[in-house]
């Protein structure tokens, strides 16, 4: 009876408040918007094999792929907003649908301005670093982001708080994030295994924001990231006996049995990681269409979380990454487009190889030359074809010296806006 009375004491006023609320202050209706896009493609990779890997994954990569099916919903009020973006894809194997972005925003946008002077975004949001990482995949002509960006940032979104804003041509973003974007070798996406957060600063300028009709525009950013990576320890193990078929006769003999004692758990450790980047975009409009020159360069340490995953606590030394790309995109009238991107990534500036028993410096650089052509239905759809000439050091020649692996790829993609 006591608990019932207690409940009544707060239930009754709450119910009364809810009933009375519409009369007291009618909530303002939000500006609702819904949209998205769909990217379906066929791709072929020279390294495809009709086999399964040891872990059961298909080695064949020649296939039809639902690359991105994005559904965007936004509700905007005067000083607040909510944004939700869902993503469906088969690029990771089975069809997966997940939340790509989920942002709660507070902002101040002066009347007559089309950008927020100040904004705070909390939730699963874009990682503010560089140009391609922030740019929507629907706006990018090239199929995927440059390799250096995909390696350092296996996912484009992360959980965190982003503060920022724009004033005339000036843009600023300041972010504190978990540092666990979903994708690649990131094990704790959606969580954070350490208390340290990644701090990101992105400062930029864009003359197009001035709203002039000048045919030439320039934009660019400088970005910084600093944070701590996580090297997971190992759980404790039980003792066991291991059999090694030393004489390869398929029969267990006494000398082939090795006791493996139980091991204590090892502790997890954090390590420092950082990145600095700069990007520049130039655009010039002629009667043929817009010409855009794009470039971005990134230097990082211990940040590869996808291709050659770094763990300096194991190796005992820091690994330095360096990468950049330069691209040109040319509109050819209203219905055609072409482009070319050169993409360079060095995942480890200090890599070594053995040659005739001696340790020698070796290059791990990967270069990608990507010509692309496409047909465009303005603001509706595009059909694009891209060939990636990949030049790396992942194979060996007859002398045993690292050489280029046959792993060129091409993609035919149809993108339609929703």
């Amino acid at each position: 009876m006591t608990s019932l009375l207690t409940r009544k004491t707060w239930c009754i006023p709450l119910f009364a408040a809810l009933v009375a609320a519409p009369a007291a202050a009618e909530p303002k209706a939000p500006n609702l918007s819904i949209g998205g896009y769909l990217q379906s493609q066929y791709e072929e990779h020279a390294e495809s094999e009709d086999q399964l890997s040891q872990s059961g994954e298909t080695l064949n990569l020649d296939r039809f792929v639902l690359r991105r099916a994005r559904l965007r919903m936004a509700a905007d009020y005067d000083y607040a907003g909510a944004y939700l973006e869902l993503n469906g894809s088969t690029s990771g194997g089975n069809l997966a649908v997940d939340v790509h972005r989920a942002e709660a925003r507070l902002r101040y946008q002066p009347e007559g301005e089309d950008r927020a002077l100040a904004q705070a975004t909390l939730g699963l949001t874009k990682i503010p670093f560089g140009y391609e990482l922030v740019q929507s995949s629907s706006q990018r002509l090239f199929m995927e982001r440059a390799l250096v960006i995909r390696s350092l940032f296996p996912g484009t979104t992360d959980l965190g708080l982003v503060l920022g804003g724009s004033y005339k041509w000036f843009n600023l973003s300041l972010a504190v994030m978990n540092g666990e974007p979903r994708g690649g070798a990131v094990k704790f996406a959606g969580r954070d295994p350490n208390q340290a957060k990644d701090l990101l600063i992105r400062v930029g300028a864009d003359t197009a924001q001035l709203g002039s009709d000048a045919p030439f525009s320039v934009s660019g950013n400088v970005s910084v990231l600093t944070g701590k990576g996580f090297s997971p320890g190992q759980p404790a193990t039980k003792a066991r006996i291991e059999w090694t078929d030393v004489n390869e006769d398929g029969v267990i003999q006494g000398f082939e049995q090795t006791p493996i004692p139980g091991r204590a758990a090892t502790r997890s450790q954090n390590f420092n990681r950082w990145a600095v980047g700069a990007d520049l975009q130039l655009a010039y409009r002629t009667s043929l269409g817009a010409t855009r020159l794009l470039g971005e360069v990134i230097l990082a340490q211990n940040l590869d979380r996808n291709l050659f995953v770094n763990d300096p606590t194991l190796t005992g030394f820091d690994t330095r990454q360096f990468g950049y790309y330069a691209a040109i995109v040319q509109e050819l009238g209203e219905y055609a487009i072409a482009g070319f991107r050169y993409d360079y990534y060095d995942p480890n500036a200090n890599s070594l190889d053995t040659r005739r028993g001696a340790i020698v410096p070796a290059s791990m650089t990967i270069e990608t030359f990507s010509p692309v052509v496409g047909l465009v239905l303005p603001d509706v759809a595009s059909l694009t074809f891209q060939y990636d000439f990949v030049r790396d050091h992942l194979a060996r020649d007859e002398r045993g010296i690292p050489t280029d692996l046959a792993n060129d790829a091409w993609t035919l993609r149809l993108q339609v806006k929703m």
Partner: protein
């Protein structure tokens, strides 16, 4: 209208690029019957002059054991090369579509002027049993091959044959009943003997044990192995009933395939084969004399409470 004219050359360019991209891919060797770990696969015949005195030279090929079990993983192959070698290419003669290259290692102090090389190789279960020739060649700093060097390894039979395939002095069993299947499910070969004894991998002896302590007679007919037992994959998916001595003439056996556990597999196919020894002396070999195949799905799993699917009602020796 001028803008549309651009499509006239973009479209052929797009189609041309597509056609050019549809070329033949190079293999990385994942489907090869002989695969070397941490080595580079190169398609084509192994270069080098067969058995001549060219340089650089493979001065030795060493196998830990010249006999290999079928489907053996991580078989150690190593040897030495002359000092002008940079790498070694290895392939199986008459099998596969290319060869594997490994860089050579350190100089060998016990053999001055020579360096060591080694590789760890996986041999496919699809390779036939019997002797196979392994060929190696060394490459110099310019990638030029030297002389080929050969050695022989023998792949033991998948059918339990007492090692007679690789060791000619051994005699094969008189008969073997083999059940093999296509997926990692715990399928058991079960046989009902003329005496009414149901033998299984858990009760493998054809004759009732006499109660005496110690190992049973090695010539006692029995089922060998409990493949994929407890759903642990073993790469074999095969169980065999081995008769070292021929069963009495006219004796009949009932043969079952018992799906103890599907291990999460939806369906599997199986094949039962009976082998009997034919020929005389060293030429005496096991030959397939009877075969039957079928399908099972997860609804057929018994958990051991029944005998499973009857494959052969009366197999008569």
């Amino acid at each position: 209208m001028r803008h549309f004219s651009n499509i006239r050359w973009i479209l052929p360019l797009l189609l041309l690029g597509l056609a050019a991209a549809c070329g033949e891919d190079e293999s990385l060797g994942a489907d090869e019957p002989f695969r070397a770990r941490n080595a580079q696969f190169i398609e084509g015949e192994l270069p080098g002059a067969p058995a001549s005195q060219g340089r650089p030279a493979v001065t030795s090929i060493e196998l830990q054991n010249p006999i290999t079990v079928p489907g053996q993983a991580q078989k150690s192959i190593r040897g030495r090369v002359s000092e002008d070698a940079w790498s070694v290419g290895v392939r199986l003669k008459d099998f596969g579509s290319g060869y594997w290259v490994v860089p050579i290692g350190s100089p060998e102090p016990q053999n001055p002027g020579e360096s060591v090389w080694s590789m760890s190789a996986d041999l496919s279960m699809t390779l036939p049993s019997g002797p196979i020739t392994l060929v190696a060649v060394a490459f110099d700093a310019e990638g030029r091959p030297g002389a080929q060097r050969e050695t022989t390894l023998c792949i033991a039979s998948r059918i339990p044959d007492n090692g007679s395939t690789c060791l000619p002095g051994r005699t094969s069993p008189e008969a073997v009943i083999v059940l093999e299947w296509s997926a990692d499910a715990d399928l058991d070969l079960e046989v009902l003997t003329p005496q009414g004894r149901l033998i299984t991998p858990k009760k493998p002896l054809v004759n009732e044990p006499d109660g005496e302590p110690g190992a049973p007679d090695p010539d006692e007919a029995r089922i060998v192995a409990d493949s994929v037992g407890a759903c642990i994959p073993d790469g074999l998916r095969q169980e065999s009933l081995v008769f070292q001595k021929r069963p009495p003439s006219g004796s009949t056996f009932q043969i079952f395939a018992n799906l103890f556990s599907s291990c999460g597999v939806r369906a599997l196919s199986f094949r039962l084969t009976v082998f009997e020894a034919r020929g005389e002396g060293d030429a005496r070999r096991l030959e397939a004399v009877f075969s039957r195949s079928g399908l099972l799905n997860s609804e057929d799993e018994t958990g051991g409470v029944s005998t499973g699917l009857l494959i052969v009602r009366d197999y008569k020796f």
